[in-house]
């Protein structure tokens, strides 16, 4: 990388995360002093958005080529008090905690104390949401049966499609006008509501144009004062770019990146959608600009690389907004899950790998940044060379890119009823979540603790930790005559908690649709404009709500152990088993060893164990899939944990798989840590037994020591491993390439490993920023593979 990129990268790596009050102050001022009470909510939101963009500070960094920051400086991170409010205690914790800290200045603390907290206390969306939740919802939530994503972040989870690289904000305003003209009060009772939504969108589009003009003015000012001629020319060019995009459709490579970046800032300033917005199929979007300029001689490969690298820094400057309360435990990370997609297929179904795919891979390799994260889509039509180039990066132990099965993704989308071309334009975002880019709102609603539900089943609906009856009485386990009786009870419990979760989500979706619409995001996703409907209210062409199951491996092994030891071998009675669990296996040491070492385990291609993964999958699928969501779509399942298997483990007692109370659950669809003893092909065979096509994403971790990447021959073997898993419809696989000793050293000498990134679950994170538990778990996984 050249000296500019080195400078910007170092600056980004060294920037301290701060919690910044600017946005909170502006939002508070707007709602307190400027709110037009008689305007409909979407218009109020659009005016608020415009007010923020018109008044927030404009940051233009030394040597930058792509401009714009969400806060006043890199890594200055805003809060969203209209969604959820940080207490002074939250601020103090964030400021002082050793992991994933956000520094809070005296000034910020004072402003929160005097302005922000007094105004928003009791008025945030979170307050409204919690007041609407039922007692049974609250009890389940407190017991750790599920989490709720929208409790402190807005529904987001969408990715920009191809169309937006060919449209400017002025085009979108014209589209809104056309839609307004089509409204017919004579036939459409919703016409006034739609008119309000479209008017709000127009205000939001205009706001982003004005925001870009503020940058061009600032750039002009800097250019006038700049002594260095070369930089002066750059600044002038950048000023001119910011006058063109996002108002008009981009014409050059540089404009395309700046255009996207303003859009990105718009989305993450309007609200704090989870997961982060991202450009999706970046190689597909950029290739026309690249080829056009290459042919015209106005850009070369090195210039394109530099621009991409500057673009990469921009993502890294934007950590996820800091959480409040205990939920920091649920998912404790700076990363905001922007997942760049490469490869896959074109809308016509042909191989989409192009020169830009390879250039982006090179950029990823050189930059080694936490954000954006990256993935490659592998279709049967993509060449092996593309996989080999990907393995080149993976082997460096960076944890990126992860590898996805395009053909499976397309099948998943088709099963959900998407058009073939929309499906081919899709991919995965966040960790592993399948979506139709540019046309779908696929909201993750929360993790679902399948292991905890089994624990509750074994206590007849009672939660031993919170000491409450939280589920229905599905029978005293001592009275179960067969394994089928147990499954029947478990099925009822899963169904009950799915009901509780979904009932909550229907209310929450309605709350966001009516109280926190997102006119800016709605401009970007088809068919919000055409329908005159907000993104949060079902304006997107496709609407999906996901519930993410956690603990497949742990539950599978627990069911297997119960069936094997209690119902078949009769090595122990149910009473004995329950007592062993209650005592966390104290005085049951020998039995505990039998559970851990002499019981069939998921992940070994063992039919006896793996059948229970299928049973569990079916129970979960039947309880959720196809049920209507508020926005007009359906609930679906996927299987991914982020880091929630740690939190869920901490609230779940000892289980029949031999896991001690409080320890982490298995993650994604990976086997219980250390349970797989037959190597990767057996793990993949086990994992492929569940029907990935019926999900919206599964996560499978495979840990490899660097020794698996030694020579071209091992690349071919890994490639065959990936291809075979994908032939079996596997959705996703990721490799962690680190030795246990390296990790242990990193734990003892964090200062030496500031840039050590490991793949955690569906994403990568700095090893230093992980909690000790998670660090230990990753070391244990690695140990297992080394041994």
């Amino acid at each position: 990388m050249n000296s500019r990129v080195k400078f910007l990268r170092t600056q980004s790596l060294e920037a301290i995360n701060t919690l910044n009050h600017e946005r909170a102050v502006l939002v508070t001022k707007f709602y307190r002093d400027l709110l037009p009470e008689n305007e409909p909510v979407p218009v109020q939101r659009a005016l608020c958005f415009r007010y923020i963009l018109a008044n927030k500070s404009v940051y233009i960094g030394e040597q930058e080529l792509i401009v714009g920051e969400r806060g006043p400086a890199p890594k200055a991170t805003p809060t969203y008090p209209e969604v959820s409010l940080h207490s002074l205690e939250d601020l103090d914790i964030l400021d002082s905690r050793p992991k994933v800290s956000f520094k809070v200045s005296e000034e910020t603390r004072k402003i929160f104390q005097e302005e922000i907290i007094p105004f928003w206390k009791g008025r945030t969306n979170r307050d409204k949401l919690m007041s609407l939740m039922s007692t049974r919802w609250k009890r389940s939530y407190e017991a750790g049966i599920f989490t709720e994503f929208q409790e402190q972040r807005a529904p987001g989870h969408t990715v920009l499609g191809r169309r937006m690289f060919g449209k400017g904000m002025l085009n979108l305003i014209a589209e809104c006008d056309a839609a307004l003209l089509r409204l017919d009060l004579g036939t459409d009772k919703e016409a006034p509501a739609k008119a309000a939504v479209l008017r709000a969108m127009k205000i939001a589009a205009q706001a982003l144009i004005e925001y870009s003009y503020r940058h061009s003015e600032a750039l002009d000012g800097l250019a006038a004062r700049e002594k260095d001629e070369q930089r002066r020319t750059e600044l002038q060019q950048m000023a001119s770019i910011c006058r063109r995009v996002p108002a008009y459709a981009p014409q050059t490579f540089h404009e395309a990146l700046q255009h996207y970046w303003f859009i990105h800032l718009g989305v993450i300033t309007e609200l704090n959608p989870w997961d982060s917005f991202n450009p999706g199929r970046l190689d597909q979007h950029l290739i026309p600009f690249y080829e056009k300029e290459l042919a015209a001689g106005s850009l070369d490969r090195e210039q394109a690389r530099e621009l991409l690298q500057c673009f990469w820094v921009k993502f890294n400057n934007h950590p996820a907004p800091p959480k409040i309360g205990v939920t920091a435990l649920e998912s404790n990370t700076y990363t905001d899950f922007a997942l760049i997609n490469m490869g896959g297929v074109k809308p016509d179904g042909n191989d989409a790998v192009n020169e830009m795919s390879y250039l982006i891979l090179e950029v990823i390799r050189e930059m080694r940044l936490l954000q954006p994260s990256s993935m490659v889509q592998i279709s049967k039509k993509n060449p092996d060379r593309f996989i080999h180039k990907t393995l080149d990066i993976i082997r460096t132990g960076f944890g990126q890119p992860s590898i996805f099965n395009t053909d499976a993704i397309i099948q998943q989308l088709l099963r959900q009823g998407k058009d073939l071309e929309d499906a081919r334009n899709g991919g995965a975002s966040g960790c592993v979540e399948t979506g139709a880019f540019g046309t779908e709102a696929y909201i993750l609603t929360g993790y679902f603790n399948l292991t905890k539900i089994l624990e509750v089943t074994l206590h007849n609906g009672f939660d031993p930790r919170t000491e409450r009856q939280i589920g229905p009485k599905t029978g005293d386990p001592l009275a179960f005559n067969s394994f089928e009786d147990l499954i029947e009870a478990y099925k009822k419990q899963i169904r009950f908690f799915a009901d509780v979760k979904i009932e909550g989500n229907l209310v929450i979706e309605q709350l966001f649709a009516t109280q926190l619409p997102v006119p800016f995001l709605s401009l970007l996703i088809d068919d919000c404009i055409a329908k005159g409907k907000d993104y949060n209210a079902g304006g997107a062409r496709y609407n999906t709500s996901y519930i993410q199951g956690v603990g497949l491996g742990s539950v599978t092994d627990s069911l297997t152990a119960l069936r094997y030891h209690v119902f078949e071998q009769e090595a122990i009675t149910m009473k004995g088993m329950l007592e062993a669990l209650e005592k966390d296996f104290k005085e049951y040491e020998e039995f505990h060893r039998a559970l851990v070492f002499n019981t069939p385990k998921y992940g070994n291609d063992n039919e006896y164990a793996d059948q229970h993964a299928k049973v569990l999958f079916q129970l979960f699928y039947d309880a959720v899939d196809g049920r209507p969501c508020y926005r007009g779509g359906k609930f679906r399942i996927n299987m991914l944990p982020t880091t929630c298997h740690i939190y869920f483990g901490s609230v779940t007692g000892a289980m029949p798989d031999g896991r001690l109370a409080g320890k982490p659950l298995s993650e994604g669809i990976s086997p219980v840590q250390g349970a797989d003893q037959k190597g990767p092909t057996a793990v993949l065979q086990s994992a492929a037994k569940i029907d990935h096509i019926k999900t919206g994403g599964t996560l499978l971790n495979q840990k490899f020591t660097p020794s698996f990447f030694d020579d071209p021959e091992s690349y071919r073997k890994l490639t065959a491993l990936i291809r075979t898993y994908f032939r079996m419809d596997g959705h996703h696989i990721q490799f962690n390439v680190v030795s246990a000793d390296t990790l242990r050293d990193a734990q003892n000498h964090p200062e030496k490993y500031r840039d050590l990134i490991v793949r955690v679950a569906g994403y990568s994170d700095y090893f230093n920023d992980l909690g000790e538990d998670l660090q230990n778990e990753i070391i244990a996984r690695t140990e297992h593979k080394d041994g």
């Binding site: 060893r593 092909t681 065979q685 065959a720 491993l721 075979t724 032939r727 244990a780 297992h784």
Partner: protein, 282 residues
Amino acid sequence: MRNGLNLSLQCFQKKVKVQGLLFDIRRYSVHDGPGIRTTVFFKGCPLNCLWCHNPEGISGEPQTIRRKRPLNGDQAVVEETVGKYFTSREVMNQLKRDLLFFEESGGGVTFSGGEPLQQPEFLKEMVVLCREAGIHTAVDTSGYALEEVFREVAGLTDMLLFDLKTTDNKVHEAYTGIGNALILKNLQSLKGKGPEVVVRIPVIPGVNHRPEDMQAIRKAIQDSGARIEAINLLPYHRLGRKKYEALGMQEPPAFGPEITSDQIKTLMKIFEKAGFETKLGG
């Protein structure tokens, strides 16, 4: 009455069914032949190589091994039996599981050990069954076997991984417990038609690490006239040594000093110059 019947049935089955004594069936084995393979480890070996890193393959009887395995942040000692009798059908059920991986990678099954040729009937049956199932086979052997057994297996398998230690009969006897005359004879029997042969040479400090040792091996290989696909040099390592203790076996002295990478390069050149594709490791 019923018991009596069962017993006699069992005896009958044992007589007609050949069983194999195996100590492991390892999947995603990537260092024992081309592609992704499953390696079947036969238990029992006529040689007693002092550098053996699979000591559980030496004895032809089931053994008890005490393994340390991680358990909740601590270590638990677990006793396991190493060595189990399998029918060919049981083994085939295991091997067929990774068929797609074999197909995609150009891999297959490797029969290793121990010495697979020590259990010739079972080995032959396995190789034939694999061929029928369209699975590529490799047999990893010390070459120490009855000549007709060796020739028969060589005629059935797609590939032979021939482990050659030294051409010096005295050295061979000193470190493996037997002379190498039969081994060299079997190597020569591969002349002309036969399976693809990969010669695998463990490089042991103080035993065969000198260039002249390798020159002699090179000559023996060239003289054999076998279809040599590649040469693999396998430098001595101590990774298997903990297993001796776990098996309650006397641990042989370690060899040293460690072979440097420069030394290995020199040795590899000897084979490369003779036109062989030569690789470090299997």
